[in-house]
Amino acid sequence: MFTPPRSANLIARRWFLQQCGIGLGAAALHQLLLDEGRAAPVTPSDPLAPRAAHHAAKAKRVIFLFMAGAPSQLELFDYKPQLAKLDGQLPPPSLIEGYRAAFINPGSRFLGPRFKFARHGQSGAEISELLPHTAKMADELAIVRSCVTDAFNHAPGQLMMNTGAQQFGRPSFGAWTLYGLGSESRNLPGFVVFSSGSKGPSGGNSCWGSGFLPTVYEGVQFRSGGDPVLYLSNPRGIDDAAQRETLESVNRLNQLRLQVTGDPEIATRIASYEMAYRMQSHAPEVMDLTREPRHILELYGVEPGKSSFAANCLLARRLIERGVRFVQLYHEAWDQHGNLKNDLKKNCLHTDQACAALLKDLKQRDLLKDTLVIWGGEFGRTPMVQGGGDDGRDHHPNAFTMWFAGGGIKPGITLGTTDEFGFNAIEDRVHVHDLHATLLHLLGFDHTRLTYKFQGRQFRLTDVHGKLVTKLLA
């Protein structure tokens, strides 16, 4: 392991050596130094060092189950008996005045809910028959039926939900979290992303990008098969011992250069190589689900060796146990313009059990209390039908449902009401910005003070918006 060179008898150099963590170049450090928005005193050379937030945090880490494509709230969480009665009728013109839809004529007929609902748990939350496992966890959930966003196309919608803006170039929620709190893990990235389902997310890499924040804060894509992180495995013909020798030679030569040049970046690079090496041994261990007992695998519905949303849920738990700050799971499957009934059934079959298992598992490990779990997509779906077969719904930004659990969320509540058609959120509207403000609050931040100066302006996740939704707080 790295030790400061003996000739480093000079105060300045020793300082640098001790300071040097991983990640930022000198110029970027300068930028961080200028920032006042960050909570704790900045430790510039280790931008990922754990830090305290503005206030005591309820949530220490986040698992965001991103249901990309936009699931139908009307079949899952927002039961509308009146809509069932209006099935086949035209919406009142006043309702759709000025409304823009992506594909359909806004004046299309209403489509009643296609599945049955029942009340669950002591809280009596109304949940669809498609989600029997989630329903059993009803008393852990805060279901918000009144979510509202600005976008109704997928890529802008996903960016909005992740970065608070429809345009590319802003840091994601995960990146802000890492920027604010640092990472507890020295062997794994602080922000990890998985994808499952039939497609990748519409917003692409920018969904977990760092925007104008330093690139060390961006999400790192893992996958459940093959190398979990790109280039994690040694090249063919290089075993662990050879890799270690290589690394040591590189570090020895780098140390000699450090003595000559005095550049602390070299010390940082040495540390980076050491962490890379540790990651090589730790990441495969984390990803190895055969280490999980049978009852846990069954709880989630995981078949080891097979990539799935369920496997990703279990991996998320393993990652946060090891100090990863933010795990985001994309499951891109919910864009039911057609084939609503069958595809929803299938999607719920693929996700319901694992979502519930994750909550149960976190709870039994006493992790749920400070782990924030988020479930939801980029927008909702229209109460109006799309297509001829009464089996599809279009994109809808005016009202959709998300649920939250753990990490300081008030359990067992259903917040917000939509109108009788499920078209507009009318009570306790929660805009994406409000959601971000609230989630940051749970992580210990005043959303107006978690800022980063870029292009002459202090930027924040909530832009100039965002109200704390106190009803969601435990």
Partner: protein, 1060 residues
């Protein structure tokens, strides 16, 4: 690792404290004091707000004090300064800041010490001249150059030295020659020098050896590759559309234009003007390739000289078109055209003006004097263009075209020669085709939304529909209209060209073609709309007869059906597998076409007729997320009651000429007429066939996204809160009043705007340009916020130097290479980059330029160094982007939204410079992304420079790095014969200098250990050597593998990827 860093303290606290300990008062206003004012005082005391008539942004007012009448800052006397009294006080009446946190002890100490030392406040930051105007909004005036010592090579050094003297610092000694030659190569070419190039310079004893090397490198074509890449960041260049579909686009002509422009040292003003308005520069004698009425038809294009120059200029406008395009299902194309417009404004702001103007799309700028109206007035200049996609040709293809057209003309002359009375014969023919044409009534039917598969059919003023937005590969669009017609005998379908379609259309396919699988019509009497009957066809005619041709592989739908294109009969044969095609050959693909469908029995109803028209477009490929649609791009439907009409075989352009009187026709028009007419002359069958054969040789060309000005201007409105659905007042093109005036002699259009951007009176343009170039050399600009020189920018570290460079740049006629030469020949640039303990404390970030830059090189250079050291680099310039190895799963769902095509290169293109690596925005090339290459989503003028474990994993394990290790091992095994020679050579190939004895012994040690390892594990040796460049078979495999292992170490050295 978790220990807290003291660097923050160094900057804020230790500098003054240590200085005091050494008895050298050196608090710096811009570094130590201004930031305190900015962060804690300006919110009430600056240009926007002057509580108590006091402001701290103007030196004289700051000194004099506000309404209290007490002097706020008395140089040398902190105790008499009211400002100090207030920041120390606890009395709520007088304390400052009045609320919130107190200033820290360090900040208070710094302010006191600064006043004690004389409250030195540099003129450049005084804001005095105008009292209100921010320094960067005032035209730079040429500062006088301070005196210097013999250390100074040029004025740059004198400015640097003056500041160092003030700070009681000395410049670092000159770097050694090996370091210098590598620094120059990396900076100017982005490639490391070969050992022989190092030696040549080291042994060049001529006094001007360094300057000669600089000139040599500035003349290298690789210079443009290196510096072009930096501009491409600002131009947000990428090879795909972005957003969900992120389809490949073909815009490398623009990339090559940038490289060429920089190599040819196109003056910066011209460089910008061509990119903003190259298409408007010269009223061209040629038919613009993207004219609204395409007149090329099937006639002979001019192929005149000058076509290439013209192409160069409009290719340059690709700069504005590097915006992303959203074609996901259900989008409103206008919304995303607006997003692209905002992106262009942002790129111009950051990249050219050095100003953040983005915020003014929603509201007036909070800090800079830019109003929302100003923003939309600039916007108006850009808002009048087509989002055009044109065919472009390489020089070889241009030559080929010219040759083909020459041959065609020759044949035509020969025909004219053989038939001296051709004019009379043609006139006779003209009479024969003049007869009355059928009267067509244009239909403006309604589109059934659910039938379009998500594609938008936008109704145009001429009754045609333009297909935009999502492009499904298969759909059957349903049009419906109730007409007053009582009798209909036939329908006409016109396919029209449009600049906004690929290659100008008339189709939406990547080739600008389209296919009509079936044309179906149902009708009913208007008073009995449910009595629908299917129209049976008697015949169909078209003005193009494509031979029966199997569908191209790019439209493969994986159905294994035999799908064909061919004559118009295919559109009424009831078979979905056959379609009417229009693709004759690359030279005649993109022309308007028409077809006429005659009903078996005329449609008749006294009460009018309700029509349902269906256009089946089933000839696209399997993947709608890729460039596989084969849709019609712009179409118009019409009907007639004329009996048995046929599609007019004459192109519209020929009809237009016929409409003119003989004497009004130009020679070119006569020639056009002739070119059509000859095809109808039976006796010329043989000559016509020869010309047909020539057409088949026409080159494909490639495409380029450009802007082309609309003939009908769009009206531009201020958009409330930036929402395109909330237009406010109409605005005319204009520029912000707080900047320089619009050039009087410039047209009030995009070209005038371009000229305004680079007007000599612009206060920010030249400063932004020189600052960005400076930043590339030293890692940090003279203004560290290089994207924003506005009021919120960081104060310049050397304001006079910035202005001197800006004025020098202007006076030299915006010559970029001259500026580069000036910087790299300065003594400042040539300093050693060694960080001494003293400098670590006094100038940790090198703001003062106390030493040379030592920086990890940019992502592309990281890759290029490995390729170059290994000898694998294929240095070819320009051309289509290439596909080096990439982990395949990244391009497939669920990692990528849709499957992407990536044909991994197996030939020399595998080893091209990273500049040429294909860039998908949504799937950035990982080995570049990890080293902070931007993905082109938006303009980037300052890359971050991170240092992470993922970088280590990449250079240790990524397959190309391993191939480079094999290449490097093979190279030294081949070129040198002893261990020591080989080690030294390999080391020098990576870092230019020879290893020290300590380094050499480490290398020998690892070589020895790897030898033992691979001798004991021969299977592993074989595996390590299994792929990539082969190593001479006469060397034992364990020996070769040991060398690969050593090469891998060398490629991973910090120094290898660092400019020292």
């Amino acid at each position: 690792m978790r220990s807290r860093c003291l660097l923050s303290l160094l900057v804020g606290l230790l500098v003054p404290l240590l200085a005091k300990a050494e008895g050298k008062p050196n608090v710096s206003f811009e570094r130590d004091i201004l930031p305190i004012f900015q962060s804690r005082c300006f919110s009430c005391h600056d240009g926007r707000k002057q509580t108590a008539d006091y402001r701290l942004d103007v030196r004289s007012v700051a000194m004099k004090g506000g309404e209290s009448g007490k002097p706020a800052i008395v140089p040398g006397k902190p105790d008499s300064s009211d400002l100090v009294r207030r920041i120390l006080s606890d009395d709520a009446e007088i304390m400052m800041p009045p609320s919130g946190k107190r200033l820290s002890n360090e900040q208070i100490t710094a302010i006191k010490r600064w006043i004690e030392a004389g409250a030195d406040w540099p003129n450049a930051l005084a804001n005095e001249a105008t009292g209100k105007v921010h320094w960067a909004f005032v035209l730079p005036s040429r500062p006088s150059v301070p005196n210097g010592t013999t250390w100074a090579n040029n004025p740059i050094d004198r400015f640097i030295q003056e500041r160092l003297t003030r700070e009681n610092l000395q410049p670092s000694p000159r770097a050694d020659r090996v370091t210098l030659v590598r620094r120059l190569y990396l900076d100017l070419l982005g490639l490391p020098p070969r050992p022989e190039e190092v030696d040549a310079f080291v042994h060049d004893s001529r006094p001007d050896a360094y300057e000669r090397l600089v000139d040599q490198l500035l003349a290298s074509p690789h210079f443009g590759e290196r510096w072009g890449r930096l501009w491409l960041d600002a131009a947000r260049y990428a090879d795909s559309d972005g957003f969900e579909k992120d389809k490949p686009r073909f815009v490398w002509f623009y990339r090559d234009w940038v490289v060429r422009a920089i190599n040819q040292d196109l003056p910066y003003d011209r460089f910008i003007i061509e990119q903003i308005a190259g298409d408007l520069l010269s009223p061209s004698p040629l038919t613009p390739l993207c004219s609204e009425r395409d007149t090329r038809t099937q006639l002979l294009p001019s192929g005149q000289r000058g076509e290439e120059t013209l192409q160069e200029q409009f290719v340059a406008t690709g700069y504005l078109r590097n915006s992303m395009i959203n074609e996901e299902g259900g989008i409103d194309p206008e919304q995303f055209r607006m997003e692209a417009m905002f992106d262009r404004m942002d790129a111009i702001g950051k990249g050219i003006l050095g100003l953040t103007i983005q915020c003014a799309q929603c509201h007036s700028h909070k800090y800079d004097p830019l109003t929302q109206t100003d923003y939309y007035r600039m916007f108006a200049f850009l808002n009048n263009a087509h989002e055009a996609n044109v065919t472009v040709y390489t020089p070889l293809e241009h030559a080929k075209r010219a040759e083909l057209f020459r041959q065609m003309r020759e044949i035509e002359s020969e025909l004219q020669h053989r038939k001296p009375d051709w004019r009379q014969a043609m006139a006779k023919w003209e009479q024969s085709v003049r007869g009355p044409l059928p009267q067509w009534t244009i239909l403006r039917p309604r589109v059934h939304d659910e039938s379009t598969g998500g594609q938008k059919y936008l109704l145009q003023a001429d009754g045609s529909f333009l297909a935009q937005g999502y492009a499904p590969t298969k759909h059957r669009v349903h049009f419906e209209i109730t007409t007053e017609a009582r009798e209909i005998t036939a329908f006409q379908l016109e396919l029209l060209t449009d600049p906004n379609l690929p290659r100008g259309g008339p189709g939406r396919s990547i080739e600008g073609t389209g296919a009509l699988s079936e044309f179906e019509v149902e009708w009913a009497p208007a008073d009995a709309p449910t009595k629908k009957q299917r129209v049976k066809w008697k015949q169909a005619t078209a003005d193009v007869a494509m031979p029966v041709t199997p569908l191209k592989a790019i439209y493969d739908d994986k159905s294994n059906k035999k799908r064909l294109l061919g004559p118009i009969a295919f559109a009424i044969d009831g078979k979905d597998e056959t379609a009417w095609g229009i693709d004759l050959d690359p030279g005649r693909r993109n022309q308007p076409r028409k077809a006429v469908f005659v009903a078996e029995t005329p449609l008749r109803s006294d009460k009018g007729i309700t029509l349902h028209l269906y256009l089946k477009q089933y000839h696209g490929g399997w993947n709608s997320d890729d460039n596989q649609n084969n849709n019609l791009g712009r179409l118009r439907l019409s009907l007639t009651a004329t009996p048995d009409p046929v599609a007019d075989p004459l192109p519209a352009a020929v009809r237009a000429i016929l409409a003119k009187n003989d004497e009004d026709r130009t020679p070119g028009e006569v020639q056009t007429l002739f070119s059509y007419w000859r095809t109808t002359v039976a006796e010329w069958r043989e000559a016509n066939a020869r010309i047909e054969a020539l057409w088949k040789q026409h080159p494909e060309g490639t495409t380029q996204l450009i802007l082309s000005e609309r003939q009908e201007p769009r009206s531009t409105h201020l958009l409330k809160r930036g929402d395109f659905l909330k237009p406010g007042d109409r605005v005319e093109g204009g520029t912000p009043a707080f900047l320089h005036p619009f050039p009087e002699d410039a047209p009030r259009n995009r070209l005038g705007f371009a000229r305004w951007l680079v007007d000599r009176r612009s206060p920010t343009t030249a400063r932004a340009a020189v600052n960005r170039i400076w930043q590339a050399y030293f890692g940090i600009g003279l203004v560290s916020t290089s994207e924003d020189l506005g009021t919120q920018c960081e104060p310049p570290s050397h304001p006079e130097l910035l202005d001197w460079l800006a004025t020098e740049f202007l006076e030299s006629g915006w010559e970029m290479k001259r500026l580069h030469r000036l910087i790299v020949t300065s003594a400042t640039y040539q300093q050693s980059s060694r960080l001494t303990p003293e400098l670590a404390i006094r100038d940790p970030q090198n703001h003062l330029l106390t030493r040379g830059p030592r920086l990890r090189v940019d992502a592309e250079v990281v890759r290029d160094i490995a390729l170059s050291a290994s000898g694998l680099l294929y240095p070819r310039l320009g051309g289509p982007s290439v596909y080096p190895p990439l982990p395949g799963h990244l391009l497939l769902p669920p990692a990528s939204y849709g499957p992407k095509v990536w044909k991994e290169e197996t030939g020399p293109d595998r080893y091209r410079r990273a500049l040429y690596t294909f860039r998908f925005r949504s799937v950035p090339y990982p080995a570049l992304q990890v080293f902070d290459a931007p993905n082109g989503d938006f303009a980037c003028v300052k890359r971050p420079r991170s240092n992470t474990p993922l970088q280590a994993l990449t250079s240790l394990n990524e397959p190309m790095f391993i191939e480079c290790a094999r290449g490097l091992a093979g190279r030294v095994l081949r070129d040198k014969s002893t261990d020591e020679e080989r080690l030294i050579q390999a080391f020098r190939l990576c870092v230019a200098r020879p290893p020290s004895s300590a380094e050499l012994s480490i290398l020998k040690d690892i070589l020895e250990r790897q030898r033992v390892r691979f001798q004991n594990q021969p299977a592993q040796a074989k595996e390590l050597l299994a792929e990539g460049p082969a190593i001479d078979g006469s060397i034992s495999r364990p020996e070769a593998a040991a060398w690969v292992a050593v090469a891998r170490v060398l490629l991973n050295l910090d120094e290898t990827i660092t400019k020292e």
